[in-house]
Subunit: 314 residues, 2 copies
């Protein structure tokens, strides 16, 4: 499988840390020290996961190395849905105006990017698809409460579109060597540490410490495993793209793996935690840096709990 193209969309409204100081007393310094975040983006009044997903796709179509009519599978990924019936995947289908192809939307919280790629891998293995579009979109600020001192300052909105096919189409396509996913819903405080119950308590993270500890452990562990299974050493990795949850988690993962923190690609500083879209947005933002032969690991962890890794070669 190859990533032939990737694109993203970030809403224009910036919310700096100062906003929270006025709202709930969390200072810029306090937020920065604990999360690495200085500002995040907030979707506009008329935006939602679907409009942001469509925007990301629209940008991708500009340089897509094949006609969009060739797309034969759409997988939407979000845990902040606008509509759970006419889902993100269906909204993308409507935008592309392409009937009668498999379309589904999934959620495994912040790990959804990699789970979605694994679903695509399955459709490719079945020969039921050959050009897939994975759209990751989160509207965290719709469900989070700004005044929430535990987590309100973490969340940002954004979307990414990842165009994956069976074939290499351009010299700079990214080859997906392996994908691993795993649920860990029976581990730690998975059921209660971070949740989004749309009809009940909403979006909260009462046990951030449990998320932190497990995120560090799983993102390091799965990175090491995918490298081992492909006979790579950690020193071979040019870039690590972790789930963009918290800069301290990223630093701890790099420390666990004994890698220079500079090899991690991060956008949480200016986008906040954009959920399942974060790592894909980082891949889009940095794609011009990637050189032939580079080894990239995407490693993600989500509430639920759920984790995954993808080994990519340029």
């Amino acid at each position: 499988m190859y990533i032939n193209h990737i694109s993203s969309y970030i809403p224009s409204t910036k919310i700096p840390n100062d906003y929270f100081e006025n709202l709930n007393g969390l200072s810029d310094e306090w937020i920065l020290e604990r999360t690495g975040i200085t500002e995040r983006r907030k979707a506009g009044q008329l935006e939602n996961t679907q409009t942001m997903g469509v925007e990301a796709v629209k940008r991708g179509l500009e340089d897509l190395p094949y006609h969009p009519d060739e797309i034969d599978l759409i997988v939407g990924g979000t845990y902040t849905p606008y509509d759970t019936i006419f889902t993100l995947g269906h909204a993308i289908q409507k935008y592309l105006n392409k009937s009668d192809i498999p379309v589904l939307s999934i959620s495994t919280a912040c790990s959804t990017f990699i789970n979605a790629v694994e679903v695509v891998e399955g459709y490719f293995a079945l020969n039921k698809a050959s050009k897939a579009l994975v759209v990751l979109s989160e509207h965290n600020t719709l469900y989070s409460k700004d005044e929430d001192q535990k987590a309100g300052h973490l969340w940002g909105d954004g979307a990414a579109a990842v165009f994956i096919s069976k074939e290499q189409l351009k010299a700079d396509d990214l080859k997906i060597k392996q994908v691993i996913t795993g649920g860990a819903g029976n581990v730690g405080k998975a059921s209660e540490s971070v949740f989004l119950r749309p009809a009940h308590e909403g979006f909260e993270m009462p046990h951030g410490r449990d998320v932190f500890v497990n995120a560090c452990q799983y993102m390091s562990g799965i990175t090491q495993r995918i490298l081992d299974e492909n006979n790579y050493k950690i020193g071979d990795v040019n870039y690590l793209i972790p789930h963009q949850a918290n800069l301290r988690i990223t630093k701890k993962v790099m420390e666990n793996l004994n890698v220079d923190a500079g090899r991690a690609l991060s956008n949480i500083q200016y986008l906040g935690n954009t959920g399942c879209a974060g790592a894909a947005i980082a891949m889009d933002e940095n794609k011009s840096k990637f050189n032939s032969g580079d080894v990239i690991v995407v490693t993600v962890f989500g509430g639920g709990y759920s984790y995954g890794a993808m080994l990519v070669e340029c």
Copy 2:
């Protein structure tokens, strides 16, 4: 692929049509004539998609022809989520206490049963799983408004668990011959005819007529297609299990296909529309009827729009 086992759970509280006469003036006669429904079930105060899903799984484990530890893939399906982060799939994983296997939750509205089976088919093709558990669960009454004259009387709650493996394990296992799915998000009023926008308007069906017309057309069409692709004639089909949306839709599908209406398996009369769980519950309820050599077609259509069919042989 084989369905080795299937089980279901229905909450105990019955809501008869009379309830709506008192509430919004829709009479028993009016509801029965237009939908075929006489009563539906409503989840209890402490129940939700996850508790109902777990109950369905618990019942299935009683007679499961292998140890539950052998389950190596969990796919949850719901459009009425209790939690979009610790998802239905993760709740099932926690109940089974089985770590480090792929777990995901999907929504393609009422067609999710068949989309989930297709995701399983992909994992099997990749040799990333060999014993999958698909759990379909809907808590429609959580999101619907009882007083809604257009749709409040349609919805019921319930769950089903479908245990699928690569191998035939018992003489009466159901062989899945083919699975087809398709999105139709760009067709008709797909984006607005029926929706569940948790943070906005909630669950509504303002254009039931468009749903009705497309459901009849797609469920008939995909049934004919899956039979054609397997060299079966409609007369070869012993049972048709349609999405349980409305008894008039089922009758129209049978009429379109020119099949005796008695061959359709229905539970909407006493369960209402239980979303993506309905057809799987019907399969569980009727499994003792199936005889060796029987040909069964499951045909579904969901808001979004989304459709699918599965050809099964006993």
